[in-house]
């Protein structure tokens, strides 16, 4: 390419340099083209100048001046590019538009905040449960192992000692497998004798969990054998409260069960709330020494087993191996193991307990609320879009493309959602706090829920998705029809179907939530109406474990007789007794045994009746006000020397003697490894043990005098204030033995109430969500009907001018509203019927499709919906025909 004339290259060089310099301003995508254009023009001009002769300096300066004009050109392109590429312009415009309509902006932001806030809070909870790593080393390799009976395939049971030992010997799938045995110890180092809850653990327990002590060490193999040193690992909380976090606590000693124990380690804080769902956690961990007789215990099961999968072994392989071992054990011990299997449960699943279902339900609820909120805001945007139809029409006519208009609307909804997201995250913090405080204490990990960066990121993506969805619906609706808008000036028909669709979906969603909440409320009502089989009002309890101090049956008898006598003599005490398995108590001794009925042919192994064996003193039944169905209670005359007698539960009678009286019949059970035969003297009402929604169990009650037992719960019925009674009961124990520790004291009524905490939680949460949904739905209907009616001012005016009176107009508006609401109810009904079966597991004595609940909810929602239509309907009747017809 020719470089121009050699006579005056300076002007050309300068010009080209300017063009090149200014090209930096041009956006990269068009820079090359831009430079090519300018350089071509400059060179062309230069060539022309040289063809005519002697370009004077003015001509050359003119060329340079033209090159300077390249700067405004480049700047113009850059400005256009920025306006095109960035949302800056749209956002600025959006802010102006939102500020111009503060009531619209506020309501939209408010509604969206509720939706976003709720969703974010629940997602934060779920994140904690499902995704946050557990504090243990390779926590996804940790499994818990449970026993399962073929008859109850959904129940998990603790493990029998001999079974654990067999598993440990035979299983190859685990790098370590260990048992944890709940074990409390009397601690006499404090002001009152107290009980330290803890556990005995077998060798390798801390390896299986994968969390070594914070300071000190775990147990050594030689500490797990008889005669080994008495060593203890203490919890972080215990370390803090008793030793003020002093690192020198290791190697110090504490006195438990009248023995001296050396502290060898302190557990990290994270260890605590994770295992054994006991409020307050466990304080002391001691090495388990396997006793000879434990190697034969297969019927009673109370050990908890935890294991770590060996490298390369999958969960399925481990389960398969355990199935093989269970099958072998079933062949070896057909009497006890016929229908018993072992089930592996990942640690995370175990810790989540039963909370994932209610939480998933809550997630569904908040997503539905978010849906209603979105529908509300979409209708608000539609209404506003309608008011702005002229603006859009003009902009379209001025050359704004469809994309341009859609982008503007999306930018506005993005702004709205952003503001709402800030409010929503704030709301989420608050909601999270409320939910965590309402949550049952057992749901330990929930307390760790926080809103962290990932949750904020989730909130941001959710917001963006909402914004795009919102902007798009009305935007597409309008941009499609801009020509019509311009022509018709008033756009009656536009968005009508969409608006009706929004009402229908809001009503449908609200119905689903209300049905869910209604079912839970009804189920809770049914649960409260359940007769626990005793009267917990004014009853206090206190648990003792006396075997360590009262080592012979006689001493046990004397101790309990003396303490119960004193309790009965207390002022305000009406009755007192003791029992080995206290209903609703946190820690309990549940002993099960095969039960034979003397005189009946022997049953095949695996088909024997299993019953709970409970020990009770004569006063127990009266203190608990347990109704007698037949025969008599245990009485004082059923002494050590008297014939052996037994009282059975009504549940057992129904199973074994459905049409006759069991009184006078004889039964046989296993008690501490030996068969015990006794005559049935009475039948008592069905007693609920764990909770109101578990079935009453087949249970037999033996007299304490004939079968003395060390772990008993005192129950004392008072006549009035029970708080002082609790203290008096403890003092009576100490008046007989000042060193006897007492644990789990309190009101039985509170215990029963506490058992409902999960149900109460699910019900409260879902009801709260349903209420929010109802309010949002009502306001949504109100807004849409108001707007639609306002849009029809001219039509209504015309009708009135033609003779329609107020009531006619009102009926018309109400009728149209009702049709849409009814349609929503119909769709909602279908969805509710389909969706409510997910509630099945949470319902008690209420079917998912309960017609009464659904009917009540439909009537309620319909009434609220029609009421929401009523205000706009009334307003419509006040239209002045003359004014209306003059519109536009």
């Amino acid at each position: 390419m020719r470089q121009g004339s050699g006579r005056s290259p300076l002007a050309l060089t300068l010009t080209l340099a300017l063009v090149r310099l200014f090209s930096a301003v041009v956006p990269r995508v068009s820079r090359a083209d831009w430079r090519a254009e300018w350089e071509a023009e400059v060179r062309y001009r230069w060539t022309s100048l040289n063809a005519g002769q002697h370009p004077d300096w003015r001509t050359r300066m003119d060329l340079v001046r033209r090159a300077l004009g390249a700067l405004p050109d480049a700047a113009w392109i850059r400005r256009q590019f920025t306006a095109d590429a960035d949302l800056v312009h749209d956002l600025k415009h959006g802010i102006r538009m939102l500020a111009k309509a503060p009531s619209f902006t506020l309501s939209a932001v408010f509604i969206l905040s509720i939706g976003i806030g709720g969703t974010v809070a629940i997602v934060a909870l779920l994140d904690t449960l499902f995704f946050r790593p557990l504090p243990y080393y390779q926590s996804d390799r940790i499994v818990t192992i449970w026993q399962r009976q073929a008859a109850q395939p959904t129940e998990r049971e603790d493990v029998a000692p001999a079974d654990f030992l067999d598993w440990r010997d035979r299983a190859r799938s685990f790098s370590s497998i260990a048992a944890m045995i709940p074990y409390s110890r009397d601690y006499t180092g404090g002001s009152e004798p107290e009980v330290l809850f803890g556990a005995q653990v077998t060798e390798g327990f801390f390896d299986a969990i994968g969390m070594p002590p914070l300071i000190g060490r775990a147990f050594l193999p030689e500490e797990h054998v008889t005669g080994g040193r008495r060593v203890v690992v203490i919890s972080h909380a215990f370390w803090q409260s008793r030793f003020a976090g002093d690192p020198g606590a290791v190697n110090r000693t504490i006195s438990m069960d009248d023995e001296i124990w050396t502290i060898v380690g302190v557990l990290p804080k994270a260890f605590e709330p994770q295992l054994l769902l006991r409020p307050g956690g466990l304080s002391v961990w001691t090495p388990k020494v396997i006793q000879d007789h434990e190697k034969r215990i297969r019927a009673s099961a109370w050990w908890n087993v935890v294991a770590r999968l060996a490298p390369g072994v999958t969960m399925e392989q481990a389960q398969a191996e355990m199935n093989t071992i269970s099958a072998a054990l079933a062949r070896e011990y057909p009497r006890t193991h016929e229908s018993r299997s072992a089930v592996l449960v990942p640690m995370r699943e175990h810790l989540m307990g039963g909370v994932s279902l209610p939480l998933l339900l809550m997630l569904a609820a908040v997503v539905l609320i978010l849906g209603i909120g979105c529908a509300n805001v979409a209708s608000l945007l539609l209404a506003r879009g309608m008011e702005r139809s002229r603006e859009f029409a003009v902009r379209a006519a001025l050359g704004a493309g469809r994309f341009r208009l859609v982008r503007q609307l999306v930018a506005e909804s993005l702004l709205l959602s952003l503001i709402a997201a800030v409010g929503g995250v704030g709301l989420a913090y608050w909601t999270l706090g409320v939910i965590v405080s309402l949550a049952p204490a057992g749901l330990l990990r929930l307390q760790e829920s926080t809103i962290d960066g990932r949750i904020i990121l989730f909130a941001a993506s959710l917001t963006a998705a909402i914004a795009v969805a919102f902007g798009l619906i009305p935007a597409l609706q309008f941009s499609k029809r801009t020509n019509d808008l311009l022509r018709e000036r008033q756009a009656d028909g536009i968005g009508g179907t969409l608006r009706r669709g929004l009402v229908v979906s809001e009503v449908a969603i609200a119905l689903v939530l209300l049905v869910g909440a209604g079912l839970l409320v009804r189920s809770f009502g049914r649960l409260l109406a359940v007769d626990p089989g005793f009267n917990p009002t004014n009853v206090v309890m206190a648990q003792v474990f006396a075997s360590d101090r009262q080592v012979t049956p006689d001493r046990l008898r004397n101790f309990f007789n003396a303490t119960i006598d004193r309790m009965r003599a207390l002022p305000g005490a009406e009755a007192a007794g003791a029992v080995s398995a206290m209903p609703f108590a946190l820690s309990n001794i549940n002993i099960r045994s095969n039960l034979e009925i003397v005189g009946r042919p022997a049953v095949k192994p695996g088909e024997q009746r299993v019953a709970y064996v409970t020990i009770a003193t004569p006063g127990y039944f009266t203190a608990m006000a347990i109704p007698l169905r037949e025969g008599r209670f245990i009485e004082g005359r059923d002494s050590e020397t008297a014939p052996r007698v037994v009282v059975i539960s009504d549940a057992l009678r129904r199973l074994e003697w459905p049409n006759e009286t069991p009184v006078g019949r004889r039964i046989r059970v296993q008690w501490q490894g030996k068969p015990v035969e006794a005559e049935v003297i009475g039948v008592v009402a069905q007693i609920r043990h764990e909770s109101l929604d578990t079935a009453a169990r087949a249970e037999v009650f033996f007299p304490f005098a004939q079968m003395p037992f060390g772990s008993m719960t005192y129950v004392v019925r008072g006549s009035g204030d029970t708080t002082s009674l609790i203290d008096s009961v403890k003092r009576q124990v100490w008046s007989v033995d000042s060193m006897q520790s007492v644990y789990d004291t309190g009101s039985v009524e509170r215990l029963v109430r506490a058992s409902l905490v999960r149900q109460r939680f699910s019900m409260t949460m879902l009801s709260a969500f349903a209420l929010v949904a109802l309010i949002l739905c009502a306001s949504g209907i109100y807004g849409i009907i108001s707007f639609t009616t306002a849009q029809r001012t001219r039509e209504i005016g015309l009708r009135m001018a033609l003779g329609a009176d107020g009531p006619t107009i009102r009926r018309m508006v109400l009728r149209e509203g009702s049709i849409v609401i009814a349609l929503g109810l119909l769709f909602g009904l279908v969805a509710a019927l389909a969706g409510s079966r997910f509630l099945q597991k949470l319902l008690f004595e209420v079917r998912p499709g309960d017609p009464l609940t659904i009917a009540v909810v439909c009537v309620l929602l319909g009434a609220v919906g029609v009421a929401a239509c009523y205000v706009p309907a009334r307003r419509a009747t006040r239209v002045d025909p003359l004014v209306a017809l003059r519109v536009d």
């Binding site: 090519a36 071509a40 001009r45 005519g52 033209r66 001025l398 050359g399």
Partner: protein, 111 residues
Amino acid sequence: MSPRLNLTYSTALVLQALSRGFHFGFDIMDATGLPSGTVYPILRRLDREGLLKSTWEKQAIAQREQRPPRRYYEITAAGEAMLADAIERYRVLDQAVARTPRPRGLKPSRA
């Protein structure tokens, strides 16, 4: 008048020049007497709004003259319509723009 564009006098001048067969940026400047900093943004805007379309000069011509190909602007039907409107409005337009492209090499107008 249709509300399609804020049609300034300068824009009308550029359209007129295009309509009369001035196809290149510098030539349009010559024809209208407008400075480059005005002409080019107008060309960009007309392009964007579909009132003109732009291509590149044929490679062969440019090669023959030993220079890079120039950008070639051509008025569209919409542009002609807009121009007709503008002529209604700006009566002087006819005289303000040169009638035919000048032969190459003539003295440029005041930039």
